[in-house]
C-alpha cells in the first residue's frame, strides 16, 4: 500500500512537489504520520524550517548520512520498535527515513550509508510477509557490494522456536558478507523484546551519531500516530468491559470456541478490519497456586525486580509466563535440578526433543517432572515476562461501533494428570458479567481490504481463522462494496463446529457472500481440509484471481497456511498452465503486490 497519490500538492512549488512526491512514495501510513508530525515540528520552529526542509527533501543521492530504518514485522512488534528507534534518532536531530521492508526500493541499497534493520522471524524460520521481497533480494545473487554501508540488525523472535531469530541472523551475516560493516553487534530479542531492544537501541543510536558529523538538532517531532492519539497503547492498555462471552461450538463439540464482545466505549480506540486486538492476560489462579504450593513458597513474599517490589503471587499471575516454557528457563532449571536428562535435552543434537518438551510442558509440568528448589526471587527473575496475546478482530466498527468482537479458541486440556489452560484464552473464557480486560489495538497494515471496493476478495479462514473475515464481510456489506466475497471455511464437524453459521447463511441470502465453500474434516471417513476445496474450485478461483481478486489466509500457521499456499501454487499450475517455478513466482508476486495477505499464528 503506497502513499495516496492524490495528495494535494498545490501549495508547493513544482520542483519541491516532485521531491515530496518521491519522498513520500512507498511510505506506509505509520511513516506518513511520523512525517506529518515531523513537518509540524519544523513548522513550530520557523528559524530552522528553511534548512530542515531543504535537507529533509534533498535531491538524490539522498543526503550522504541519512539513516534508513527498515522493518519487517508480522504482528507489529518489530514495527513498533523501529518506529520508536526512528523517532529517537529524529529527535536526536538525525535525518531518518523509516520504511516497511516491502516499501524499500532495493535498488537504493547500494547507495545506502546507514542502515538499521529490525526484523522478526515467522513460520519456522521464515521472514514476515512484508519482508519476503527484501530478504530475497539481500540474500540473492543480485545483491550489490556494500562496502560503504554501516548497519545494525535487531532480530525479534521467540526462543521456544527452533529457528530463534533466524531472519535477523541471516540478514546480519549476509550484509557483512556483502562487505558492509556493523555499527554494533546483532541482538536477538525474545518475546519479552524490550529487555533486549531498549539497550540495543541506545547503543545503536550512539554509534549512528558517531558516524554522523553534524550533531546540531534539526527539529523535534510531535508524534501524531492514531493509536497515540487515543492515548492507549500496548504499554498503556485500555480496560475493556466484556459485554459478551458466548460459546459458539455446540455441546457435542470437543472444541470450546468463544465469541467475545468487548466494549471500547470512551477509549477512542479505533481499528480497521484486519487489525488485531492485543490482550494482557492473567494466569489462571489455580495455576499460580499450584506453582507456589509445589515450590513451597510464600505467595505473599515480596519480590523485588529492578524498581518494582510486589508479592510473589502478583508477579506470577500478572507479570510472568507460567504457561509457556522457554529455553533459558529450562537451562536454569536443569542446573538447579542438576538434571542430567534436561542437560542432555539442551545439547544441540537433541533440539527436537527439547522442542517437544517446550510444546508439551508448561512451567508447572517441568517443576513437577524435575523437582528443584527455587527461591521466590530466583523464580521471578528466571521466568519470562508475561507477553500480550493477539486476537484477530472479528468485527467492523461500521457495524458494531465502539465494540470489538473476537473469536477465541479456549485452550483447555488435560495433561500429566492435571487440567491445563492457555493463559489468555482461559482468562477471556472465564470472564463473567462484570469482566474487564486490558487491551490495545494492534494495527495490521498488511491485512487490509482492497481500497478498490469493486475488487473481489477470497477469504480462507478455517477454525478461528474465520475471525477477521467476519469483520471483512461486515465492513464490505456496510460500505456497500460491490466486489464479491468468497469464503472458505473448515472445522471438524458441520453440526457442532460451523462458526457463525447463522450469520453466513444470512450473508449468503443477502448476497454479502457470493460463495461459501466448506470443509468439515471429520464428517467423513477420510479427512478433508480447505486446501482440497481450493483445488476443487481451482478453475473458478484462478479466474477470480486473474480478474484482480485479493486473497487472504488466516488461522493456523504450522500446517494450514503452508498447505493452502501449496494448493494455490497447484491451482496456478493446473489452471494457469504454468510451470511449478512460474506458479511459485506468480503466487509470491501476488504476495509482493499485497494481493495475497496472511495473518497466521
Amino acid at each position: 500500500m503506497s502513499a495516496n497519490p492524490a495528495l494535494p500538492l498545490i501549495p508547493l512549488p513544482d520542483a519541491k512537489a516532485g521531491d515530496l512526491a518521491r519522498l513520500v512514495d512507498g511510505l506506509d501510513s505509520a511513516s506518513l504520520w511520523w512525517l506529518s508530525g515531523y513537518a509540524a515540528g519544523l513548522a513550530s520552529q520557523h528559524t530552522t524550517v528553511a534548512r530542515a526542509v531543504s535537507t529533509a527533501l534533498a535531491k538524490e543521492p539522498v543526503a550522504a548520512l541519512r539513516l534508513t530504518v527498515v522493518y519487517g514485522s508480522q504482528t507489529g512488534n518489530a514495527r513498533r520498535l523501529a518506529e520508536q528507534f526512528a523517532l529517537k534518532a529524529e529527535t536526536a536531530g538525525l535525518q531518518v527515513r523509516l520504511l516497511r521492508a516491502d516499501a524499500y526500493p532495493t535498488r537504493e541499497l547500494k547507495s545506502e550509508r546507514l542502515l538499521v534493520v529490525v526484523v522478526s522471524t515467522q513460520g519456522d524460520g521464515e521472514p514476515p510477509d512484508d519482508a519476503r521481497g527484501f530478504v530475497d533480494f539481500v540474500l540473492g545473487k543480485r545483491a550489490p557490494e556494500l562496502k560503504e554501508l554501516k548497519f545494525g540488525v535487531l532480530g525479534l523472535g521467540d526462543s521456544s522456536y527452533p529457528q530463534f531469530c533466524e531472519i535477523g541472523r541471516v540478514l546480519d551475516a549476509r550484509l557483512a558478507e556483502l562487505g558492509a560493516t556493523r555499527l554494533l553487534d546483532r541482538a536477538d530479542a525474545d518475546v519479552d523484546f524490550d529487555t533486549v531492544a531498549k539497550p540495543w537501541s541506545e547503543r545503536a543510536l550512539q554509534s549512528v551519531r558517531d558516524q554522523v558529523k553534524s550533531q546540531t538538532p534539526l527539529a523535534t517531532v510531535t508524534p501524531l500516530r492514531p493509536a497515540a492519539a487515543a492515548g492507549w497503547s500496548r504499554e498503556k492498555p485500555f480496560a475493556a468491559d466484556v459485554i459478551a462471552n458466548q460459546r459458539i461450538t455446540a455441546r457435542a463439540s470437543d472444541k470450546d470456541i468463544r465469541h467475545i464482545e468487548l466494549s471500547l466505549e470512551g477509549s477512542g480506540l479505533a481499528y480497521e478490519p484486519g487489525d488485531a486486538l492485543g490482550l494482557w492476560p492473567r494466569n489462571p489462579p489455580a495455576l499460580v497456586d499450584a506453582v507456589v504450593a509445589l515450590l513451597k513458597l510464600d505467595p505473599n513474599a515480596p519480590v523485588r525486580i529492578d524498581e518494582t517490589t510486589q508479592p510473589l503471587r502478583l508477579w506470577l499471575s500478572e507479570q510472568r509466563e507460567l504457561t509457556r516454557l522457554s529455553r533459558p528457563l529450562i537451562a536454569q532449571h536443569a542446573a538447579l535440578a542438576g538434571s542430567a536428562e534436561l542437560n542432555r535435552l539442551l545439547s544441540p543434537d537433541h533440539s527436537a526433543q527439547l522442542q517437544k518438551l517446550i510444546a508439551d510442558y508448561q512451567v508447572v509440568d517441568l517443576l513437577r517432572a524435575y523437582p528443584a528448589a527455587w527461591s521466590a526471587d530466583e523464580l521471578v527473575a528466571a521466568l519470562r515476562p508475561l507477553t500480550p496475546r493477539l486476537y484477530s478482530i472479528a468485527s467492523s466498527q461500521k457495524v458494531v461501533g465502539e465494540e470489538a468482537h473476537l473469536t477465541v479458541a479456549h485452550v483447555a486440556y488435560d495433561a500429566f494428570g492435571s487440567a491445563h489452560w492457555g493463559a489468555a484464552s482461559h482468562y477471556l473464557a472465564s470472564q463473567g458479567e462484570a469482566g474487564r480486560v486490558p487491551v490495545f489495538i494492534e494495527h495490521n497494515e498488511r491485512f487490509r481490504l482492497p481500497r478498490d471496493a469493486s475488487r473481489d476478495v477470497i477469504m480462507i479462514g478455517p477454525g478461528t481463522g474465520v475471525a477477521p473475515f467476519r469483520g471483512f464481510v461486515q465492513d464490505r456489506a456496510a460500505s456497500g462494496a460491490n466486489g464479491r466475497n468468497w469464503l472458505f471455511f473448515g472445522n471438524p464437524h458441520f453440526r457442532s463446529d460451523f462458526l457463525y453459521q447463522l450469520e453466513w447463511q444470512d450473508a449468503l441470502k443477502r448476497g454479502q457472500l457470493a460463495r461459501l465453500d466448506l470443509a468439515f474434516s471429520r464428517d467423513q471417513s477420510d479427512k478433508l481440509y480447505v486446501q482440497q476445496r481450493i483445488r476443487e474450485q481451482g478453475a473458478e478461483l484462478y479466474r477470480w484471481i486473474e480478474d484482480g481478486a485479493h486473497l487472504y489466509v488466516c488461522g493456523d500457521a504450522t500446517r494450514m497456511a503452508k498447505d493452502v499456499h501449496a494448493a494455490l501454487i497447484e491451482v496456478a499450475v493446473t489452471h494457469g498452465g504454468k510451470s511449478l517455478d512460474d506458479a511459485t513466482a506468480y503466487v509470491s508476486q501476488l504476495q509482493q503486490q499485497g494481493r495475497y495477505a496472511r495473518d497466521v499464528y
Binding site: Q246, T249, A250, F494, R495, S496, F498, Q501, Q505, L518
Partner: protein, 566 residues
C-alpha cells in the same frame, strides 16, 4: 386452482409429481435443512424434517442453526417384517439414526435423527431391506392398518392380504422416489407433466392425509373408528365373507377452534371382499374432489362428510363405485388393546406379544430392547408384527423355539409384559418432544413417570390391577388417539394438559374434556378423587370409563352403539 387454495396445494401442483427441488436441497452443504417447499414434498417420500427442540434456544445463542435431522417412516401395511428385514432395519437405526426404532400407532417403524447428508444412503438402505417409505406421510392414502391379533391365523392372513393390496393400489405412481433416492434414470420428459400421471390422485393428490384400517372383531386394536376409511371384517365359519365399511373418522383438532374436532367414523354398509377396492376408490376420489383444499385444518374427510351430509356423501360413493352398499352386518368389539404373552394360533404356531413402552425400541439400562430383538431376530425364522398399540409381536414361532426366545426375552429385559401393571401395559403416548415440531408438551418421555405416579394412586385405592386405558398426546393432533382413552392427557403447554375422561375401551366412545390446561398435581388429585369413587361404586367388571359415564361424572358423547345389530 382457486385463489383460496392453501399454499400446500400450489407446492404439490408445481412439484412435477413430488420432485420439487429436493435434489438441490439435498446438495446444499451450508444448511442441514431443506428448502421450504421441499420440506412439504419430502413427506410424500416418507420423511419429515425436524430438529432437536431441546437444543433450539442453546444453538440459537451459539449462532448455529437448529440441529436439523429427519424422521423416516416406513410403509408397512399391517406392520409385518421378516426377521431378515428386522436385522436390516436395526442396522439402519444404529448406523444412520439415533440408535432406536420407533413402533408407531399405525404399525410402522420410525427412524429419528437421520441427518441430511445421510438421508439418501438411509433411504436406499431401507429400500434394500425390501421395505419402502412411499406415501408413509403426505396427502395420500397412508400406511394401512390391519388387525395385529393373529389368533385366527387364516382370517388374519386374508385381511392382511386385503390391506396390503389396498395399500399398493393407492400408491402414488410418480417415479420421483426412485429417481431421488435410488438413482433411477429419469423417465424422458417427466419434468413436463406428461407422459407420467397420477390416475387416482392427479397433480395435487388429496386435500389432506388419508388413513385406512382393517379390523377383525372382537378386537379393535386398530381403533377402526379413528380412520378416514375402515373395513370391519365379517367372519362366518372362519372365513371373511366381507366387510362393514366405516368413513369419516379422524382426531386432529386445534385448541380453541370449535370448527375442528375429533370424530368417530360412521358405519355406512357392507361390501364383499371383491368390492373393497372399488368402494375405497369411491371414497378416496370423492374426498379428492369434494375435500376442502383452502383450509388444511378442515380438509380431512370427516369435515367433508359433516359439511356435505353423510347420505349425500354415501350416495356419491355408491355412484362412483357403481353399486349400492349392502346393509352393515352385526359386529362386536370387546376391547382395543393387545393381549400380552404367548398365544397359540389355530395353526399351532405361537405368538409372543411384548410390551414396548411408547413404542421406543432402544437400549436403556437393564432394558436392552434393541439388542434383545436383534438377538431374537438372529434365531427367529417367523416374523415380527407391530401392533397399533405400539407393541411388538414375535410371531409364528414353532413351539420348539419358545424356550430359546423366552431366554433372550429375560436376558435383555424384554419382559416388561410380565411385570407391568395393566395401566402400564395399555398406555399409549405419542412421540412429542424433542423431535415433533408440533408438540406443546411432553408425551413419550413423560409416560413412564406419570404411570408410576398413577400406579401409586391406584394402589392406594386397591385398584392396582384395574385395566384402565391411559393415553397421552403432546398436542391436540391426537397421534396416540387420546380421545379414545379412558384417561387421556392432551398437551397444551410444557407441563400442562387438558384432562380428558370417559372413553370406553373398545374405541367406540370418545372421551370428554374434564379439566382444561392443568399441571401434574391437579391431574393426579383429580384422577385420584375419581378413582376413589370408582373403587367404591363400580359394578362387577365395570370399566373406569364406563363407570364415569354411568355415574354421570363425565357427560358421555354419543358414540358407536356398543353392539351393532341389524
Amino acid at each position: 386452482m382457486s385463489a383460496a387454495a392453501s399454499p400446500v396445494e400450489k407446492i404439490k401442483a408445481d412439484s412435477r409429481y413430488l420432485r420439487g427441488t429436493l435434489q438441490e436441497s439435498l446438495a446444499d452443504a451450508v444448511t442441514g435443512s431443506l428448502r421450504e417447499e421441499d420440506q412439504t414434498l419430502i413427506k410424500y417420500h416418507g420423511s419429515y424434517q425436524q430438529d432437536d427442540r431441546d437444543l433450539r434456544e442453546e444453538r440459537r445463542q451459539q449462532k448455529l442453526e437448529p440441529d436439523y435431522s429427519f424422521m423416516i417412516r416406513t410403509r408397512t401395511p399391517g406392520g409385518i417384517a421378516t426377521a431378515a428385514q428386522w436385522l436390516k432395519l436395526d442396522a439402519i437405526a444404529t448406523r444412520f439414526a439415533n440408535g432406536s426404532l420407533r413402533v408407531t400407532t399405525r404399525q410402522a417403524f420410525q427412524f429419528h435423527g437421520v441427518i441430511k447428508r445421510e438421508l439418501k444412503p438411509t433411504m436406499a438402505a431401507i429400500n434394500a431391506s425390501l421395505i419402502d417409505t412411499i406415501a408413509a406421510c403426505g396427502d395420500v392414502n397412508r400406511n394401512v392398518l390391519s388387525a395385529a391379533n393373529p389368533l385366527l391365523s387364516s382370517v388374519h392372513a386374508t385381511v392382511h392380504a386385503q390391506a396390503k393390496a389396498l395399500s399398493e393400489y393407492f400408491l402414488p405412481k410418480t417415479r420421483a422416489y426412485y429417481e431421488i433416492w435410488l438413482d433411477e434414470e429419469r423417465v424422458a420428459g417427466s419434468d413436463a407433466h406428461e407422459p407420467e400421471h397420477e390416475p387416482i390422485y392427479g397433480t395435487t393428490y388429496l386435500p389432506r392425509k388419508f388413513k385406512t384400517a382393517f379390523a377383525v372383531p372382537p378386537v379393535n386394536d386398530v381403533d377402526i373408528f379413528a380412520n378416514d376409511l375402515g373395513f370391519i371384517a365379517i367372519v362366518e365359519h372362519d372365513t371373511v365373507v366381507g366387510y362393514n365399511v366405516t368413513v369419516g373418522g379422524g382426531f386432529g383438532a386445534t385448541h380453541g377452534d370449535p370448527t375442528t374436532y375429533p370424530r368417530l367414523a360412521d358405519v355406512i354398509g357392507f361390501v364383499t371382499p371383491e368390492q373393497v377396492i372399488a368402494v375405497a376408490e369411491g371414497v378416496i376420489t370423492t374426498q379428492r374432489d369434494w375435500g376442502n383444499r383452502a383450509e388444511r385444518k378442515r380438509s380431512r374427510l370427516k369435515y367433508t362428510i359433516d359439511d356435505r351430509g353423510l347420505d349425500h356423501f354415501k350416495a356419491e360413493v355408491e355412484r362412483r363405485a357403481g353399486f349400492a352398499l349392502a346393509p352393515a352386518r352385526a359386529f362386536v368389539f370387546d376391547h382395543n388393546g393387545d393381549r400380552f404373552g404367548w398365544i397359540a394360533g389355530e395353526d399351532g404356531r405361537w405368538h409372543l406379544t411384548l410390551r414396548i413402552e411408547a413404542g421406543r425400541i432402544v437400549d436403556r439400562g437393564e432394558r436392552r430392547l434393541l439388542s434383545g430383538l436383534r438377538a431374537i431376530a438372529q434365531i427367529h425364522d417367523g416374523d415380527f408384527r407391530l401392533t397399533p398399540n405400539q407393541n411388538l409381536i414375535v410371531a409364528n414361532v414353532p413351539v420348539a423355539q419358545r424356550a430359546a426366545i423366552d431366554a433372550l426375552v429375560a436376558e435383555y429385559g424384554l419382559d416388561l409384559y410380565r411385570s407391568a401393571s395393566p395401566l402400564r401395559l395399555n398406555a399409549l403416548a405419542c412421540v412429542a418432544l424433542p423431535t415433533c415440531s408440533l408438540a406443546m408438551a411432553e408425551a413419550e418421555r413423560y409416560l413412564p413417570d406419570l404411570v408410576t405416579k398413577l400406579e401409586a394412586r391406584l394402589a392406594a385405592h386397591d385398584l392396582a390391577d384395574a385395566d384402565i386405558h391411559l393415553r397421552i398426546s403432546g398436542c391436540p393432533n391426537g397421534c396416540s388417539r387420546p380421545y379414545l382413552g379412558e384417561i387421556a392427557l392432551v398437551g397444551k403447554a410444557p407441563g400442562r394438559y387438558n384432562l380428558m375422561l370417559g372413553a370406553d375401551h373398545r374405541g367406540q366412545r370418545l372421551n370428554r374434556l374434564h379439566k382444561e390446561n392443568i399441571a401434574e398435581p391437579e391431574i393426579l388429585d383429580t384422577v385420584d378423587a375419581l378413582l376413589a369413587r370408582y373403587a367404591g361404586e363400580r359394578g362387577r367388571d365395570e370399566r373406569f370409563g364406563d363407570f364415569l359415564v354411568r355415574a354421570g361424572l363425565v357427560a358421555a358423547k354419543p358414540g358407536i352403539p356398543l353392539e351393532v345389530r341389524t
